[in-house]
Symmetry: D2
Subunit: 346 residues, 4 copies
């Protein structure tokens, strides 16, 4: 089969690889229908994720058809259309029992990371009974690719951890795909105001059409001051960091109201300054989380009932064999006005 | 009357001051029976709390007898024995309605800070109906001085924010009075293990008698390694910072298990490094809080029912007029083996 | 002044009464701008609420202008436009401190019940600092009358107690004004399906325009069977009783899914059968509540930010002096297609 | 092998049965070390549980040694000492993922109910990876039999659902083994008062030694009045029903304070009267639950750390072959002063 293979920092190629086979009774083999590229894939390609070794097939998102099931699989059968979770869950360890699949002792984020991933014609999914989801009939399968990672990440790490409530004022720092996914899912809880902060006017304009009530371009406005003006100097109830660098996290620290919640979504490569000299007495909560994908079933219900339209995150479509070009378009997001791309295994 | 007056960094004196009078209808005047000294008072005396101006009477804890009530007071009358909360609550603002009295728009921590305090023969208590508590009959009034600040602080900022649960492994970093108060109130929730970390063997020995299951003297042991050994390399479910310096907060960051809670109790004077490069994916929660004293009624019930014995935090007693000497003994805690002192207005 | 006075079961009249005066320092006198009639007022008129004695002025909802304030009032002044809460809160008792204003030791539901109410040209509001809300500038004051009682009741007793979550299937039994208010506020949490059950096709049609995804007329359909069909035989995640008779409560018992929540909103006059022989093992939660109006500030934010449009509950308007006619129209709801009426003090 | 077999209402015998064999890959075969009898077994024998068919081996509790594992078992191996959960969890269905194992689509309470149980020399445990627990080294295995059912039932259905908090006043209605197990585990949360109500003085005396602060013999005292006297006429914060008949549930309804929680633990055979005519406005919560055994790991930690001593529930020991006599002693609890019996497979 063909697959996108990592060959060390900056190097990848679409090349022939052996088709995966069942290794454990709890495995399935999936024929990919559609997949996508994640910001994390770009991090890997920069060489920032050293656990990814040369020869690894990238990708951890997608929908597909079950080709073969291991002997212990009970919930799926050949031919089923399935959504692949970016997080693999054994269903048996202490963390899985707590709903913290991200820290599953045998799973967690392994696809396209510690084992071969989904940017390929076929993929092996371990612990498939607990790591796949049936696709409801008549569903828009392309849209569901957004439920592999970006929507549960935005919802769990940003919205749930941030404890967004009706009437709240929420700031989202970063209007990339993940920040926009936070914006969409935050509206499940009817906040009064959602302030979107970014340096890209195009993305801020998209944010307005997605429901942001205010936008701030922090490259030409003082974001701290503008947020204070928008909030009677109190700051925001919830600040969601969706970039992953110190400056944006510290912006969250500066704009959070007393009693507020800072929810980190960004992947960070270095430490940040936590200003406890002012925050110690502000009754705030800071959370971090690797997505657990415990809300995937719930998100499926909101899609089925038309309360959530994941398709609006998709801006570009490519044949899977053109994945290398798709990476370019995804990487040059500002120029190409890219949010999420879909790769179609034709 | 006589009172302990702050005269700038390092300077204080027990001297004559005018007896306080009712300024607002919601005030009371209290004759102090017993009061104490808080670690925060030492910070003030170092000059670390610039809002405290020269001439201020110090102190924000105590029990007393009501001498006079303002015309709008409905819950108390002359002669009532009362517990003074370190936090003043107007009972009407948005924060008070949310139970976040620490951020009351007209109150909060003002005693011995922005207005005159309790290390005096008399004190004026604003918003008294919402800031005092009736002392139950036959109560040990001396013990209740511990409910003005240290016990609600330990319980709310440490134990409640840390979400201590039955079966948990808890680390408390700092075995001073506040850390020990965390230790006592953490046991309300029956954790399996409580690891106490400090650099003072005397305090660690006290911690053992107060219920610590393990102690670590971090001046001669590697606290990180020892905690990892005690927890099968997983770290602790709850880490409570009760010192207020970067090193101890960062120790909490290093020993927290995935899914764990870091609850800050310490008063910090500078920023700390938050290691998001490792913590971003660990599903942790960090909280800060200035005590709200919303649990004072509940703590009174646990004292009345003998589930909590605050008296064991008291090591020394002085006449109120000897308050300057008492400060010395409280400050030289290691040498004097001081936890909390009681000052008696004889 | 003129007021609507209760004269025993079935008797009321619009008549001259003395204008109220300040009795306590914490009182205000309000000139009513607009008020409304509640289903509870009809119960009183039937004689079902014996605590209401002859001579009582009815009504517990409204907006007005402050005419006079007691000497202890700090948050309001003459001329302020205010929303009157149906629940009076002293702000000082144990229940008020817990946010359970409904059980305030000196307040609770007293307006138009234990003291004179709002269906009058003027009303005395006790504990006004904790029982009134400032009306934001440019607000639609008429719409805000819906925030005195019906919307917080629907939201707190129905939606919050029912723990409505994104993706849930919710059944609301009763499509009268209160059931419709539940329907509107349930959507703050983006449930997937909201099934509205009533016996009045007009109200069910209104429910559809207000966001119900399915409706059932239980007078000509088997509601239990239809709900089961709509839910793959599992039942609903949340069942909200908004009628107040045994049959509707027992319908909720029969349609609740394992793990679900039954939230009672209706005012009941007799006991119901709780089928523990089947429910004991179904992991369900049943809640009751008299509205606390702790969410009034939050609801005001959702109105100001256009997330909630209370005006759509209003179907009829009358001059306050025509209140007796308004009662007729409100009572003949089916014929008149009445939801809520507004009474205007011209 | 030998086993206790149900032969219809009132009939059981210790007789030869075929040794169980692996039927599914996820099964294990366990050699029973110790087991016990549950109140539910008595219900079955009365004929109250019609799903139990003639020929069924009874029992759903016990500790044992793994004799054989199915091919899909990964967490256990032959020779492991294990605790058997009364609830079987597949680990894959929607309910298991929510932690609601009691309603597992393929499991739940099936042992000694829908499939053969543990009052036998050997038992087949389906979905063993998710339904067994490793016994820690040096553990008191006999005491752990109490963790199969009674302690998680008491804790989850009674204490957790009742939301027992520090300082609370709790009433437990029923001082049989399950009520006493509630009493023990309620103390994890340090309530101020625990009032135990029963009609058996022996059990009430046991309750006192187990930590009850007050006891009421409702056969010769008016339980309602006495509770009111003990609570300043407010009622209790938490009322836990541990009997399963209408009278005791209605007692809970009558003694619950405004804002309180009624947690049902008893197994009910008929409906009860829910007095909504008074309760509708009391802000109460009523819960039901079939134990999920989601807290078994946590309870194991409290046993290992000596915070919980399950052995004190055990009053009698028998050889497994004398199980019929053991049933007599268990049934004649009042005369024999029986709490829990242990059956030893010698």
């Amino acid at each position: 089969m063909k697959a996108l293979v990592y060959h060390g920092a900056g190097k990848k190629s679409w090349e022939e690889k052996p088709k995966p086979v069942i290794l454990e009774q709890t495995d399935t083999i999936i024929k990919i229908i559609k997949t996508t590229i994640c910001g994390t894939d770009l991090h890997i390609l920069k060489g920032d994720v050293p656990e990814v070794t040369k020869g690894r097939i990238l990708g951890h998102e997608g929908v597909g058809i079950i080709e073969e099931v291991g002997s212990a699989i009970t919930e799926f059968k050949q031919g089923d259309h399935v959504l692949i979770s970016c997080i693999t869950s054994c269903g048996k360890c202490e963390y899985c029992k707590k709903g913290m699949y991200s820290h599953c002792e045998k799973g967690g984020w392994i696809l396209g990371h510690l084992i071969d991933g989904t940017q390929a014609e076929y993929v092996r999914i371990p612990f498939a009974d607990n790591s796949l989801y049936h696709i409801p009939e008549n569903a828009d399968e392309e849209a569901l690719v957004m439920l592999s990672d970006i929507l549960p990440t935005a919802f769990e790490c940003g919205v749930l951890n941030g404890q967004v409530k009706p009437g709240d004022t929420v700031a989202i720092v970063g209007a990339g795909p993940i920040g926009l996914a936070v914006l969409i899912t935050a509206q499940f809880y009817t906040p009064a105001k959602i302030i979107m902060i970014d340096i890209d006017d195009n993305r801020l304009n998209v944010a307005k059409t997605f429901g942001a009530t205010q936008t701030i371009n922090s490259s030409n406005e003082n974001a701290f001051e503008k947020v204070m003006n928008l909030t009677d100097k109190r700051g925001v109830d919830v600040a969601i960091e969706a970039v992953g660098v110190p400056a944006t996290f510290e912006l969250c620290e500066s704009i959070i109201a007393s009693g507020g919640h800072i929810a980190n979504v960004g992947v960070h490569g270095k430490s940040v300054s936590l200003h406890l000299e002012t925050l110690w007495s502000k009754n705030i909560t800071i959370t971090t989380r690797l997505v657990d994908t415990v809300t995937t079933s719930m998100l499926l219900k909101t899609v089925t009932s038309k309360k959530l339209d994941p398709a609006k995150l998709i801006t570009h479509r490519f044949a899977l064999k053109d994945v290398e070009h798709a990476y370019d378009v995804f990487q040059n997001a500002a120029t190409e006005k890219t949010l999420k791309v879909i790769l179609i295994n034709e």
